[in-house]
Amino acid sequence: MRGYGAVKRGFWLVFWREFTWLRRRPFLLCLTTIVPLIIMAVLILVFSAGLATRLPIAVLDLDASDLSRQIVRTVNATPDTAVADHVTDLAAGKRMILSGRIHGLLMLPKNLERDVLAGRRPEVVFFYNNQFMTTGGLTLRGVNAAVPAVEGAVRVSLRTSRGIEAVMAQQAITPIPIHSNTLFNPTLNYAHFLLAALLPAILQVVIIVSSAYAVGLDTEHRHRLRILRRLGNGLWPAMFGKLLPYTLLFLAVLGTADAVLFGVLDLPLRGSPLLLVASTFIFILTCQFLGLLLALLIKPVASAISVATILAAPAFGFMGIGFPRVGMNLFAYWWGAALPGTWYLSARIDQTLRGTPSELALHPMLVLAAFAIGLALLAALRLNIIRKRADAAAAKPRTAT
């Protein structure tokens, strides 16, 4: 049993050696700081608008009446859509959609106004491009709000023209009004939703891959691992001394990105900042342990990095932000459950957008902590096996000679 002082000394020795290393290896420093920061900055710029507004659509107005012009004006006035062009036939509209210049085409049939007043129920049709679903959905939302609004006005005027009072008519046309409450992100801001989840997802890839690399540098050759162990006065303090400098770097990187999210893009922090920082810390450690384990299990380093990349790079889809996990097949659902990011993003959404009461927010954090402990134990087990093998190998030549 080594003394506490020796362990502590060993830990700090490795800890400071790692910083010196980082200074001497600018590539590793870049990989863990500048590369993720640049990627995050690009993503922040992409989503900085938060909302996509005034998406271009075209109109085919075959009626050119007061009513059809009113519909066009209303569609143009919604925040989602802008009437960018008027076309004279359907083929021209289709060509514009196929070339990507517009996202939808609103067709107002001939004799629209006359038929409406005569009760013939003419149909207003909106063709939209749903291949690009976000854009398609947003343009549809705009038109879908505008046309029924005009219809509502028509319905009220049809009644008032028959002598019904305006207030009564308004009530009569919507027997069941829906009071819609959007919980947590009322403006449907993409920066608060997608961007806030993308940044940790980027970091997850960077942490797992670069940890596998950094540890791999020390464990690829047996003698390097022995040096590390001697320096640290044992493998445990050595490993923690090795990993902790990166933990601090990653905390700083995500902290920088979050400063922009909270400070500039107004991401709400409705929960507890303490819980958010705590879960971030556990998340980073978990990803590091995962990288550590991969580096210990797979040789050479290049293969460990390949495996880490295949695991981590496509992980975002499995974390259920875009397409939710309840809709996935069994494999994807459970694979998502095995990713640290899935739980961290839940914890993060709880503390930022949702403001989940702490007693309900503990679940994802506990899962994350269990991951951290489990991975650390597996890594310890593996380190023990490596050490035994190394000792055996070291003993052999001595007995031979």
Binding site: F132, T134, P175, I305, F318, G322
Partner: protein
């Protein structure tokens, strides 16, 4: 001509003799096309669990609740006594929406007054929010129209007139492509193009870095070397491109409206631009390992820059302009338009010419770099490698 043939043959041999390159191109095609689409294979989101808070408990409220439950989007997973209890369930992520039917719902309806209901949807997940809101409000609106028609018929209005008064201006929305709103159909074509770009870029970088590291003797002059290499990459991608753009999408049931010829014609400048860009970027790296490390995280931003899942109109113009230097920005939308939407090459003129411009630009740059490398190497063959 013979110079190009020499370079072509040698590069092809190198591709098939380097294990990392082979696995980056071929093994990745297999792994990613099996693994990446898994979250989306169910395509649509159905029967999202919501809670019902029925404070009325009458025939009308139960009928409305039954219809909401029957809608394809949502399913009433629990019936709860009050709003706070239901909100707790939203926090615990067991449900994603709440419908509250207030007291006297039926009485107000029978009196001919407006009888509102309340809907709460979880907007911390947008797709869920959209489906739940559509499911609840669509059902409630249809129910309301029935009530209104019944009222008018009760006032001796004949049914066709009642229909004309309740909805004088029916609105129909027709999705031109991806009519079922499938998530795989939406996401996979773009994702596969990005994976294609990513793997080809890494493979070419690895080849370039190794060539420099091992001080590979130039086979011919710089122009012939670059063109011969490009032909070699084009030959290899002639196998991989159809896998990503035609076979795998077919396997996952993604509709394809474009002709095979158009897809392949549009893919040529994409492959050339990515390959040439790989040769240029390869000159920035010193070791194969660093290529792999940087490539791991760099793919995601390109996806969101391509205007595919986030409209180009909302991206800052300066950033969009810079992003056009990356082939995927043109290719993701352009090739999806050709393959999934059946656009002709003429209709994606902008993307098609953009890709050719990038291809030519990067090829010239690659030739210039190769020329410099060959000139530097000539007098210094005895120098010791510093990498």
């Amino acid at each position: 001509m013979s110079g190009i043939a020499i370079a072509f043959r040698r590069e092809l041999k190198r591709i098939f003799s380097m294990k990392e390159v082979l696995s980056t191109i071929f093994a990745a095609a297999l792994i990613y096309s099996l693994y990446y689409p898994q979250p989306y294979v169910n395509e649509a989101l159905r029967d999202i669990p919501i809670a019902l808070v029925d404070l009325d408990g009458t025939t009308a409220s139960r009928e409305l609740a039954r219809r909401i439950d029957a809608s394809p989007d949502v399913a009433v997973a629990m019936v709860l006594p009050d709003l706070p209890t239901a909100q707790r369930q939203v926090y615990e992520r067991t449900i994603s929406g709440i419908v509250v039917i207030p007291r006297y719902f039926e009485r107000e309806l029978l009196h001919g007054r407006a009888s509102p209901i309340l809907q709460y949807t979880d907007a911390s997940y947008f797709l869920v929010n959209q489906r739940v809101a559509a499911g609840i409000s669509g059902t409630a609106r249809a129910f309301g129209v029935e009530v209104e028609e019944a009222r008018l018929v009760a006032l001796q209005v004949d049914p066709p007139t009642a229909a004309a008064v309740t909805s004088p201006l029916p609105f129909t929305a027709i999705p031109l492509f991806n009519p079922a709103g499938g998530y795989a159909t939406y996401l996979l074509p773009g994702a596969f193009l990005l994976i294609l770009q990513q793997t080809l870029l890494v493979a070419v970088c690895l080849l370039a870095v190794t060539a420099r590291r091992t001080r590979l003797e130039p086979a011919t002059g710089p122009v012939a070397t670059v063109l011969g290499n490009l032909l070699a990459y084009l030959a290899v991608e002639a196998i991989v491109v159809p896998i990503y753009l035609i076979v795998t999408p077919y396997f996952y049931g993604v509709p394809r409206l474009g002709s095979l010829a158009d897809i392949l014609v549009a893919a040529i400048p994409f492959v050339l631009a990515v390959s040439a860009m790989g040769m240029v970027i390869g000159s920035l790296f010193r070791s194969p390992l660093s290529v792999q490390l940087v490539a791991a995280a760099i793919g995601m931003p390109f996806f969101f820059l391509s205007g595919f899942s986030w409209p180009t109109e909302a991206i800052p113009p300066a950033l969009h302009a810079v992003s056009m230097l990356v082939p995927s920005t043109f290719a993701v939308t352009g090739l999806t338009m050709v393959a999934q939407m059946g656009a002709s090459i003429a209709e994606i003129n902008l993307q098609f010419l953009g890709l050719w411009a990038l291809a030519i630009g990067y090829v010239l740059l690659a030739i210039a770099l190769e020329w410099r490398r060959q000139r530097r190497n000539q007098p210094s063959t005895g120098q010791i490698s510093t990498a």
